[in-house]
Structure formats: structure tokens, C-alpha cells
């Protein structure tokens, strides 16, 4: 076991996939000589050369389009969107082209590319560099969506994404890049759709991912001394979503709290809530609660930003309220 940062784990996955398959290449803005604005791809151009690590003009539609076009002829591109907000400029290539290729060709062609989307606030990054847009992509059939919260999962799931035949949106949270975690010396990819119990508990199931997963774990620490036990579930992949993992937890706790940084309205939490309500109603003994971003753009000032996104204290308070309502 080693302790590495989330950014280093992603870099290791990129390097190992570049090493494993010569069809793999990286394409994006400032990922080569500059090593990426968050340093994630640092050193890769020196090791793999300009044929495998492609610095591009600021042209998001052409970058993703080039990735999609190359994938149709057997390339395995890993596209970086420097800030996921900029995916808005490439949405036709993601949502109308990559996502639909397999379906609209009757399964005869597939756009097998990985799109890395740098997500969430980095602190005072304001409205156009901070969004958590996973709901946009989750809503488009044909895309798979991955949201790892730990270095070990980031490495394993990025390797799985690169080898997956379908287009995969891989969300990386900026505030996780410097967070360390234990990983095995050799990390093998594992199949999408398997959630992880990040912390076992008995009273409330909390589903959270990316940075908010860590806030949920902090909330669980806070509540332990009060005698309240949270079970924290990390879905790891949003599409596919592990329904059985959710059910197993709800059978224990009977209470569901969902937390994410994205605005609450139409967020992925609404989908999780609907799955629980439609398919696992008999396990629930209290209303489902969401602790999510407010329905506002991301503000600049730290005190404003802190007001709109969930934190451990807010998750803990919602959990306290939740055990006080509903049926015993």
C-alpha cells in the first residue's frame, strides 16, 4: 500500500493506460508542456511524446469532436475538459454524437472515448469555473458517468473507463486533487455499477460522491458522539447506478439522505430519491431528504459559496432532523 494524492492516482492511471495500449492518447488544452492547470498530466508529454499527449487550441467542440472521430476508427482518446463548465461548448459532440452513435447505428459503431471533466468549486472560482454538471450527462442515454471520491477508485475507474467500449464522462473534483489516500501497488480496473460502503452505520443512509462524500464522512464522525450512526454509501458510478447497494443499506437504516454539491433542482439526488421511492418504498420509514447545492449559480465570495454548497455540519443537522421524524 502507498499513500498518493487523487491527482497522482489519475496520472498513474493515464500513464499505465498509455503504456498498455498504443491506441490510447490524451487530447486537451494545456495538458502537455504545461502539465494541465491542476498539474494532473504533468510529465506525461516528456514520457510519451507529442504523438500521445496532444496540446490543442482552445476549441472544445473540435477537441471532443476529434476524440469522437478518432474513436470511430479504433482510437482510444482520453479527452480533458479543463473545467467541466466548458463542456457547454462541446455539448453537440458529447450529447448528439458520442452518446448516440451506438444506438442510432443499430449497434454497428461506438464512440469509445473517455471525457475527463474537472468539476466542482476549487474555492472562490465563481459561476463559470465551479459547476457540478453531472446531471446534464446522466440525463443523456448512451453516456456512462463516473464520479470517484478516493485516489484508489479514481485510478481503478479511470482505467476501466479507458477500456470501456462506450463513451464515459469521468468527473474529477478539484478539491480532491491534493487529498491523499491509500492505494495498492497494483491497481486493477473493476466493473462499473458497484457502490462502496464508505462507512458502516445503522440509523441513516447517506449517499454522496466526489468531495461531498468526504463531508458526509465528517458528518458521520460528528454524529457518532451523539449516538447517531450514519451509513455512508459512495456510488462511485452514477450511470450505471448500483441499486442493490442502495437497497441493502436502506434495509438496514430505513432512512435516506442524499448530498451533492450540484444544485438540488433536477440534480442526480432527485434520481436517487426516485429510485428509492419507486423501487424500495417498503424499506423506508421516513421521508427522503436532500442536502444539496442551492438553486443558484456559484457565487464568488467565500461566505456566499459556503452558503450555497453543503458541508458536514449541514449534512449532520439534516440527519438529526431525519431521525426525529417518520415512523419508528
Amino acid at each position: 500500500m502507498r499513500s498518493v494524492t487523487y491527482a497522482a492516482a489519475i496520472r498513474e492511471a493515464l500513464a499505465e493506460e498509455l503504456e498498455r495500449d498504443e491506441q490510447v492518447f490524451l487530447i486537451g488544452e494545456d495538458i502537455g508542456e504545461s502539465g494541465g492547470v491542476f498539474g494532473v498530466t504533468k510529465g506525461l508529454i516528456e514520457r510519451f511524446g507529442t504523438d500521445r499527449v496532444l496540446d490543442t487550441p482552445i476549441s472544445e467542440e473540435a477537441i471532443v469532436g476529434a476524440g469522437v472521430g478518432a474513436s470511430l476508427l479504433g482510437g482510444r482518446p482520453i479527452v480533458e475538459i479543463m473545467f467541466s463548465d466548458f463542456a457547454a461548448l462541446a455539448m453537440d459532440m458529447i450529447a448528439n454524437q458520442a452518446a448516440k452513435t451506438h444506438y442510432m447505428t443499430g449497434g454497428r459503431l461506438t464512440a469509445g472515448l473517455t471525457i475527463r471533466l474537472v468539476t466542482g468549486t476549487a474555492g472562490a472560482t465563481a459561476a463559470q469555473h465551479s459547476q457540478s454538471l453531472e446531471a446534464w450527462f446522466v440525463h443523456v442515454p448512451g453516456l456512462k458517468c463516473v464520479a470517484p471520491s478516493t485516489p484508489a477508485d479514481a485510478k481503478a475507474l479511470l482505467k476501466a473507463a479507458v477500456r470501456d467500449p462506450d463513451p464515459v464522462c469521468f468527473f474529477e473534483h478539484k478539491l480532491l486533487y491534493n487529498r491523499k489516500g491509500e492505494i495498492d501497488d497494483e491497481v486493477e480496473p473493476f466493473a462499473f455499477g458497484r457502490s462502496r460502503v464508505a462507512r458502516e452505520g445503522t440509523d441513516v443512509t447517506v449517499v454522496a460522491y466526489l468531495k461531498t462524500l468526504h463531508d458526509a464522512l465528517d458528518a458521520a464522525d460528528l454524529l457518532e458522539s451523539e449516538g447517531l450512526s450514519l451509513e455512508v454509501i459512495d456510488p462511485r458510478t452514477l450511470v450505471p447506478f448500483d441499486r442493490e447497494g442502495l437497497r441493502a443499506s436502506l434495509e438496514k437504516t430505513g432512512r435516506l439522505l442524499i448530498a451533492h454539491e450540484a444544485p438540488v433542482r433536477g440534480g442526480f439526488g432527485a434520481e436517487i430519491a426516485a429510485i428509492a421511492a419507486e423501487e424500495m418504498w417498503e424499506t423506508l420509514r421516513a421521508p427522503i431528504v436532500r442536502v444539496c447545492g442551492t438553486n443558484t449559480p456559484m457565487p464568488y465570495a467565500p461566505e456566499l459559496e459556503g452558503f450555497v454548497i453543503p458541508d458536514a455540519a449541514r449534512i449532520a443537522q439534516a440527519a438529526r432532523s431525519l431521525v426525529g421524524v417518520g415512523v419508528a
Binding site: F25, D51, T56, P57, S59, E61, A62, V64, G65, A66, G67, V68, G69, A70, S71, L72, L73, G74, G75, P77, D92, M93, N96, Q97, T101, H102, Y103, M104, T105, G106, G107, R108, L109, T110, G112, P141, G142, K144, D164, P165, D166, A191, F192, G193, R194, T237, V239, P240, F241, D242, R243, E244
Partner: protein
């Protein structure tokens, strides 16, 4: 390359492809009115020489991206009219197993990476295909067809800049039919010649008569040779005209009658037929036989489509993903 280097057989085959596209689309229009085809059709009638001339310059490993007006490109590339009609009929034997229709047809074996329902979207895809072909190092090229309207999309600008910067083996073929959907060119862009936009990307911009199949073959062959030799992309502007409206059902009333009759007089099939008879010694009888063969082929293709089974409704749930996972249904 010019016509003197082409064999008589080759010339007759080019004529056959022109007639095949024309009649495929005329018949499709009738079949749609008769209720056999449920979806959109955007006929390329009048523009056949662009498709046939360009595709005649390509080799088996080259790739193509097309447009909403893509039947001609696909037929010129050698696609099977039976499976094309079956797709238009929304039947199982269609190219896309009834999941795509006219706007999304593909033939991967021909390197035909698809018609496209989004104006301009094939341009970045061809650019990526060119990138992959260059990485593969096989000397193959990627061709993107698009219309004058598409050259106002950001996808055009971003892609041509990237292709030029990376010296990609790409050929960008603009079919300037003077209308972006219902809007005349002078109301959607200030340039008359789209080819001048190539200057902005430091690549050659070539204007060609899009109603002259041999000229299209010649200019495309030059562009393809440059691309294969590692000399980078070319923008070709083919001046041509859509005989019909934007789609079947659009009567095209926004076009001046004089303009329509002027272009109808320059019908690419009549021009080419006359030329090979007068200059190459092909007989009118040979051309008539070709046309009769095309009719038989299309009659059979429509019968094939009609005999092909409808998809079962539940097939709608298939093909969303290439790979699913046990225990984690991708619902």
C-alpha cells in the same frame, strides 16, 4: 487527372452512379408519399456530381463523414441500395437496424462514418478520423462533406484550424448549393466564395464546378494526393444547386424561377451523358442500358426493403450501450 486517363468502363460507371443516386432519391420521394417511408428525406438531386466525383478519388481505406443530405455520398461510396431503402423503410435489414433512418445511415465497411442530423457536426468528426488515420500512418485520408450553411458553424472554424495546425490528411468538401436550408447564401454570409475562408487557416481553397463530375474527380484527386503526401488539408468548394427544396415537402418557393431554370439546364447527369457520347464515343444505347439496369436494381431494392421485417417494439431498449454490467442494469 482528366477524362482521357479514364477507361470507357470507368466513365460509364460514373454515369451509372449519377443515375443511381438521382433515381434512388426520386423513387424515395415517391415511396415516402406512398407511405412506405415514415421519416425525413433531404434529397441531393442536382448535386450528384459532387458525391460521385469526390468518392471516385478515394481509396478503400479512406473515411467519409456526411450530412443530412447524405444518400448520394453513401451510394457513390458503393453502399447497398437494398439496405439503404430498408433503413428508410425502418426495417430490420436496414443499415442501422431501423434505429437511424436517413439522417444517421452508416456503412462501417466502406469507411462511411455516417450521415448526420446536426449541420456541421461531421466536420469535427472527420477531423478526428483524419487524426486517427495519421496516427495509424496508413496514408489514408478523411473527407468531410458539408453545405454552405455549415461553414457558419463554430465546428467548421475550430476543425479547419486544428486540421491545418496538425497538418491532418483531411479534405473538406463544401457543397455550396446557394441555400442554407431556406436562406439564400447572400443572406447568411458575406462571402460569395466559401473557398476564400481557407486563407484563414493557411490551407488551399479550391473552387470547382460541382455539376461537373470529372472536375470534381480532378480537384479531389489533387487534394487527396496532397493529404496522402503529408502536405495537409484542403478546402474544396463545389458550386452546385439543389433541384428540390431543403427536404421532401418543401417546395422551394423562396427561389427565383430564373435561377431554378438556369441550374436545371446545367443538370449534371445530362451534361455528363452528353459529354461522354460526344467526346468519348459512348453510345446513347449504352447509357440507356445503364439507366434500365439502375431501374431494375432499385425496383429490387424497394422489394427487398418491403420484405424485410419490422423491428419488435422492445428492440427500442437495445443498443444504448455496447457493454452492460451484470447486476447493474443500465436503466
Amino acid at each position: 487527372m482528366n477524362e482521357t486517363t479514364l477507361s470507357l468502363e470507368r466513365l460509364v460507371d460514373l454515369y451509372r452512379l449519377l443515375v443511381l443516386i438521382r433515381r434512388f432519391e426520386e423513387r424515395a420521394s415517391e415511396l415516402r408519399l406512398a407511405g412506405f417511408i415514415p421519416g425525413f428525406l433531404h434529397p441531393s438531386i442536382g448535386q450528384e456530381a459532387v458525391a460521385v466525383g469526390v468518392c471516385a478519388a478515394l481509396g478503400p481505406n479512406d473515411a467519409i463523414t456526411s450530412t443530412h443530405r447524405g444518400h448520394g455520398h453513401m451510394l457513390a461510396r458503393g453502399a447497398d441500395p437494398r439496405r439503404m431503402y430498408a433503413e428508410l423503410y425502418a426495417r430490420r435489414d436496414g443499415y442501422n437496424r431501423a434505429k437511424g433512418g436517413s439522417l444517421h445511415m452508416i456503412d462501417t465497411e466502406l469507411g462511411f462514418l455516417g450521415a448526420n442530423g446536426i449541420v456541421g457536426a461531421g466536420i469535427p468528426l472527420a477531423t478526428g478520423a483524419a487524426l486517427q488515420l495519421k496516427r495509424r500512418g496508413a496514408g489514408a485520408v478523411a473527407v468531410s462533406f458539408f453545405g454552405d450553411g455549415a461553414t457558419n458553424e463554430g465546428a467548421f472554424h475550430e476543425s479547419l484550424n486544428l486540421a491545418s495546425l496538425w497538418n491532418l490528411p483531411a479534405v473538406y468538401v463544401c457543397e455550396n448549393n446557394l441555400y442554407g436550408e431556406f436562406t439564400r447564401q447572400d443572406k447568411h454570409q458575406t462571402v460569395k466564395d466559401v473557398a476564400v475562408r481557407a486563407d484563414a487557416y493557411a490551407m488551399p481553397g479550391v473552387i470547382a464546378d460541382g455539376n461537373d463530375v470529372l472536375e470534381m474527380l480532378r480537384v479531389t484527386s489533387e487534394a487527396v494526393s496532397r493529404a496522402r503526401a503529408g502536405e495537409g488539408p484542403t478546402l474544396i468548394e463545389a458550386k452546385t444547386y439543389r433541384h428540390r427544396g431543403h427536404y421532401e415537402g418543401d417546395m422551394g418557393g423562396y427561389r427565383p424561377p430564373d435561377e431554378v431554370s438556369e441550374w436545371l439546364a446545367r443538370d449534371p447527369i445530362i451534361l455528363f451523358g452528353r459529354r461522354v457520347v460526344e467526346e468519348n464515343g459512348v453510345t446513347q444505347q449504352q447509357l440507356d442500358e445503364v439507366a434500365a439496369d439502375v431501374e431494375r436494381e432499385l425496383e429490387e431494392a424497394a422489394a427487398f426493403a418491403d420484405a424485410s421485417p419490422h423491428p419488435a417494439p422492445e428492440e427500442a431498449l437495445e443498443d444504448v450501450y455496447a457493454e452492460t454490467y451484470e447486476g447493474a442494469a443500465l436503466r
